[in-house]
Amino acid sequence: MDERELVVVGGGPAGMAAALAAGAAGVKDILLLERDQHLGGILNQCIHPGFGLHRFKEELTGPEYADRFVKQVTKTPSIEVSLRSFVVKLTSNMKISYLRPGALEEVQAKSVILATGCRERTREMIPIPGTRPSGIYPAGLAQKMINMEGWIPGKEAVIVGSGDIGLIMARRMALEGMKVKAVIEIQKQSRGLARNVAQCLDDYGIPLYLSHKIARIEGADRVEKVVVAAVDDAFCEKPGTRFELSCDTVLISVGLIPENELLEMAGAQVDRKTNTPVAAEVNRTSIRGMFACGNACKVYDLVDSVTRDSEKAGQMAAQFLKEGK
């Protein structure tokens, strides 16, 4: 079986920063596994500017931020990158199985860093009554389809949830010529950054309904309308406040949840509610020598912080390999 000092799972900003820092700290034999055919992770679909102000003192788009690290990774001799490599199994003694086109590979690592990112919370995780027509998408999936595949989801959209992804998608759809009717947020405040409310909604005249919720989604095959209602402090519907918005597309942007199936599989402790590793310090897990960084460790708002903390994860792994702690 293939043996490696360090295996990093996930080639987004977290995995790349961790691998680079481990390499810089003297780890000679690093395997970076990424299921996609490119490095960069979620940044590849984040084509808007807003990345790197701290790290590079200039505002980059997601792909540009990623590219700076991809270039470093590819010229670092101690890092071997394996793309289209989907890790399907991890054991507590750090044996990893991954699928590559046409093969199931196994590798024994001395240390593992999990940088598998987040997945989106979906409609199934927040109850919205009504029919189940097509035209309802998680916002991040829509982002990927629009920005990377050139797909336009429909003509008129309503966005549920005011997280940054939802706000950024409101602007993207408006630019793509769709009519974005509203962003509906159950909280009293936007969950996204104030700058995104300004430049993604106000710039395009898109209304943000705070303390409102979607009472129903209606439509036979395709979404036809949503019913919106105001809520009180306990998030209960205020009677007599219902109104309708016709639309053929609903994006759900209700947050991200760390992707930690592998960690669970290995027997590490994972918090049931937040899906984050249980450990005393950021980047650590309950298994010695196994680390988790980036969005897999906790949900980050800024990629610059992901890079900073993930570099520490790389250094921690290097220290573990040297000193066994």
Partner: protein, 123 residues
């Protein structure tokens, strides 16, 4: 007269208050750093935004190539810019920063690639 703005120059999103005399900015308050002052003046006098989108690629290892303007363009130019980039088809490999349209729509800034695109890998 005064106008309230949110500074969009960094994630802090400071609330700015701009004192105006007619259309002229007299003073800016609420900003944490000088960029906020600059933003407020520009936002009142000539609002600009960095334009980003993605353009169609063919026979390359990605379907769409993310692009941006190398500097901000007038806000009113964003929707016309969208129509313009829909006409672009990239079919040869590019590096990050490669210029796809010089002096894009007469704005004085270029439209550039945000990532490399290469020939697809041989199967």
């Amino acid at each position: 007269m005064s106008r309230k703005l949110i500074c969009i120059e960094c994630p802090q999103g400071c609330s700015l208050e701009v004192a105006l005399e007619g259309n002229k900015v007299v003073s800016v308050t609420g900003n944490t750093c000088p960029r906020g002052d600059k933003y407020a003046r520009s936002e009142i006098e000539n609002p600009v935004r960095t334009f980003t989108s993605s353009v169609l690629a063919e026979e390359l290892d990605i379907k769409m190539l993310p692009v941006r303007t190398s500097g901000p363009i007038p806000k009113a130019g964003l929707l016309p810019a969208m129509r313009e980039v829909k006409k672009i088809l990239v079919s040869a490999p590019v590096e990050t920063g490669a210029v796809l349209a010089e002096n894009f729509m007469g704005t004085g800034v270029n439209l550039v690639a945000c990532r490399p695109a290469n020939k697809p890998p041989m199967e």
